[in-house]
Assembly symmetry: C2
């Protein structure tokens, strides 16, 4: 039996474009509808059979849907959820895939209000890639990935359960935490690494880049991501990223001192501590 009748997916990039085929493969809904603004992306989603129907008209697309997933860039999530809430069926569940959660969830809790006829629960599937867009979408994108679901005290309990079921149904491991806790942790595991990788790439002298090998390519890979997608991620998580950056720069300063004072024992101790943490998480 399907978990959902009719699912609207707003934004058919890497994440949104993967939800349709994943839902179909696992028979989680009777019908999927892809909603987007760019016809080129909708055309790819349609050609690949990623969704059953496509439309650029949000109000039409979400009508009669019992689940709406907003997979737009972070900066557009709030307005898109509010618009979808006006048109989808009473009792519907709306979730999103935004990479930051506190600002989105706080604003929606406030603006939808407790009397809302629809329920919003924030999500963040940790399934990003520097290769974005619908051509990289795939039905197994969420398999064995982590999805963070971020309920608050204002969340409807049943809606939270259904949100977790959705992602588990797509093969993901689900963890729940408060939006601010999510943003603090993602600052350390995603946003700071992105900043650092970008600073590294930008710093590489042009005459040295022919000598860039595997280490450089790994370390700077995420810097190839779309700046327009990352600007609002940073903009909605400033303080946690700045805090994580302080912590990082404190460690960089220890490396600098060890290098400058020829304290090679300290240098090796720092490298050992880094390897210990890296090895825990694994490849």
């Amino acid at each position: 039996v399907e978990n959902f009748e009719r699912v609207a997916i707003i934004g058919v990039g890497l994440v949104g474009g993967s939800i349709g085929p994943a839902i179909r493969e696992r028979r989680l809904a009777r019908e999927t509808i892809g909603i987007g603004r760019r016809l080129a992306s909708l055309a790819i989603a349609q050609d690949r059979g990623a969704v059953d129907r496509v439309t650029t008209m949000l109000s039409d697309g979400v009508r009669d849907c019992d689940l709406v997933v907003v997979a737009t860039p972070v900066g557009a999530v709030v307005d898109t959820v509010l618009e979808a809430a006006r048109y989808c069926a009473p009792g519907s569940l709306i979730s999103d895939g935004g990479s930051t959660k506190a600002k989105i969830v706080e604003e929606l809790d406030r603006r939808l209000g407790t009397s809302s006829k629809v329920h919003f629960v924030g999500s963040h599937p940790l399934a990003g890639d520097h290769r974005t867009g619908p051509v990289h979408a795939r039905a197994d994108l969420f398999v064995d990935r982590t999805v963070v679901v971020t309920p608050t005290t204002a969340s409807d309990h049943g809606a939270v359960v259904r949100t977790c079921q959705l992602w588990r149904g797509l093969g993901a491991r689900v963890v729940t935490m408060l939006p601010d806790e999510h943003d603090r942790k993602l600052a350390a595991t995603s946003h700071l690494p992105h900043l650092v990788a970008s600073a590294l790439a930008a710093t590489t002298p042009e005459d040295a880049s022919p000598l860039a090998a595997g280490g450089w390519r790994d370390t700077t890979r995420v810097a190839a991501s779309d700046p327009a997608l990352w600007r609002p991620i940073f903009a909605t998580n400033r303080q946690h990223v700045l805090d994580a950056l302080d912590h990082f720069e404190h460690t960089v300063a220890r490396f600098r001192r060890a290098l400058a004072t020829s304290d090679d024992a300290e240098l090796e101790a720092l490298l050992r501590e880094a390897k210990r943490v890296r090895d825990v998480v694994g490849n």
Copy 2:
């Protein structure tokens, strides 16, 4: 026809252990001899047929060899080359695979002297990996990789030509430059990224690491490397790494300012410049 009669490879880790099978597959020498201190590594090289003969006795191993490749950790290269020079045949070529070049080449130019009966030419195959050791060795390790050969005014011209022929024969692209130029460029493309990746890994709060996904794993991957191999790389390239770190921190400071002052246009400009450099080098 073979380029070399008998080749001794001192150190049978990832790089050294790959030279034997690569030479055999391409018939570049009549015989290969693996020399090492750790019996466990030699046993793996022998079991895999990576070399024709193995020995722990350097003086025996290099006798009658016309090519000796020193593939030990950076800190052991100079002494190992000097010892090999005492025992190998007159006219022999000795090269190495060390990740830094200026200190090694300067010291060997000085200590071997111009009247040396053997010729040393420095090399650095950009074929490293965080998975070190003989079990990861393979005959195609050098194919389409870059090898930097670092002759000086003291180098024998014929020896430089033979060194370049060796690496080209193993499938690599060869570029030549002065040792100091190599070290300056590798500080930017390898040593600084290693430092930054290590600082990022070490900085990750333990409670956040379950939320580490692909971006974190790519950005910190090289931090899993062996600290004992990297300590002497940093120790022999301090000033260039410190200079590269200055440059990096200047860019990080621009990111910090853009975040702290909500200058999102500047933030996006920084991300765009990083993407431009990253895209030039490619995956």
